[in-house]
Symmetry: C2
Subunit: 299 residues, 2 copies
């Protein structure tokens, strides 16, 4: 005889078997995970690690990952402090790949930024880093999961770990030499995760709000999706560290902690969808199909 | 002593060892694979299996996959013949997910289309189908690869195969019931491959040209990315089978045969990038990171 199950409001189910009923946890839908996550499973963005890029259509918010790219992030911060990016443009939109902005601007102050920064493609596995590993097979890495709120991968045998190129991840454009990027030209992933870029280029963070302002940019018609005419480019009004913006003008965002119990439930809700629309839950999940939840807590 | 290698123009290298030189095949770059693929490794689109969706900004070309969804494709063809889609709209653009068009239009002729079509989520492995399998691990399926020009997967134990949700794949929107889609509302994948949709919904083909016209649509601000105001929608000028368009107005496209030697080299060129920019070739490739090459052969 099959037990009969009744879904409760997002918290579990009542299971009745031969007349005896009891409640037990149920795999939650994604919406239920978000609705029931306790405040302690969310964290505020740190204003010193948060960048606002103001476009004519609105604000793009980027969370930096200085733990993985301390030198790259420091260089970008220095240029932002010098207002290097203000008035520069979105220069590239290549379909199913990346949107890119900034670039060399001779004569413009770069503040305390260095001419180049070393490659920060991987780091040694940090004893203090918490790796929320996925049990699912990953095509590109021995182990995939999350570290400090970012999608990441690990090679335990090799002893290193790195951020991975999921949708919305932001990196430092470079030429052929590994250390040729200085942080003045940045890109964001706007299509299928280009995981072949992993360990080949420095990732510095993730777009946590306003992604749709970048991803829907008209595609450039030049080689690699570069715009060929100045009027095709969108001008960046200004780029600021959140810490340098008055508190009342900051975006009150919170990110789900990737080492929390709620995030574990979030992963499971996406691995096996509970919504009635699904007839064959996948039973597996790719790291890039688990966007880290972000919410606005404006009061 | 390390052999010294000299790259030739895309065809191989000369290897010199202790003064003796000989040529041997070299892994090619993606550009070299395209440049050297013989005409026999390309196929023309069949006009009866090709759809043109004319938008104000240009033409979107869709290749049907009737081998996987005979009933779904037949229903869409019937509606196209009845000019069902002409004047309908793009109704949804959800960031990192799908763009959707068409929908119920009461009073409009549907031609010979049925009210609903059965679910065509998988098919039995066809004895005649040629499966170009990838050796790389796939998160979602036992085996991933290509069949008849489309990204696909197989469960050899279960005896079935199916198309997979890579960027640009087109499917039939449905409600909760598996057979509730009739082909009047179609979607295309515009973000990270939503592989959890595999085996849950009917895929009917792939956008082979004009994808950038759909993927850059402004994102809808309603639930699930639906547009909330009529003026946000883009009107579809008309949808035609290529066979019903005068030959001179057809898009002269060719697709690389996925059972060809060139396609094998194409896969390898993407698994291990040969361009000097790359310092750590991935050594692995995801099925959705191998877009099937398309070229225009206008003379």
């Amino acid at each position: 005889m099959r037990a009969r199950m009744h879904r409760l409001a997002g918290l579990g189910f009542i299971s009745c078997f031969t007349g005896l009923c009891f409640s037990q946890p149920l795999p939650l839908t994604s919406a239920e995970v978000l609705a029931t996550a306790p405040p302690s499973d969310w964290r505020k963005l740190h204003p010193e690690r948060t960048l606002y890029m103001e476009l004519p259509a609105g604000r793009v918010v980027i969370e930096f990952s200085p733990g993985f790219a301390p030198e790259g992030v420091a260089n970008i911060r220095a240029m932002v402090k010098a207002r290097y990016f203000d008035g520069l443009s979105i220069v590239r939109s290549q379909d199913n790949y990346v949107v890119q902005w900034g670039g060399a601007a001779p004569g413009r102050s770069r503040g305390a930024a260095k001419a180049t920064v070393p490659a920060e493609f991987t780091r040694l596995i940090s004893p203090s880093s918490v790796f929320t590993a996925l049990p699912d097979p990953d095509t590109y890495a021995a182990h995939a999961g999350f570290i400090d709120g970012f999608p990441a991968a690990r090679d335990t045998a090799g002893g290193d770990e790195w951020l991975v190129h999921c949708y919305g991840m932001v990196g430092i454009g470079r030429d052929d030499a590994p250390d040729s990027g200085d942080g003045s030209e940045l890109y964001v992933v706007t299509g299928q995760a280009p995981r072949h870029l992993d360990r080949n280029i420095t990732l510095v963070g993730r777009v946590v709000a306003g992604m749709e302002l970048l991803s829907a940019m008209p595609r450039g018609t030049g080689a690699l999706g570069f715009y060929t005419k100045p009027e095709q480019r969108t001008t960046i009004r200004e780029v600021r560290l959140a810490a340098d913006v008055p508190a009342a003008q900051r975006s009150p965002l919170e990110v789900m902690r990737t080492d929390s119990a709620s995030f574990g439930r979030w992963i499971e809700s996406r691995r096996n969808r509970q919504e009635p629309w699904f007839h064959s839950p996948a039973g597996r999940i790719d790291v890039c199909n688990i966007p880290v939840p972000v919410r606005s807590v404006r009061r």
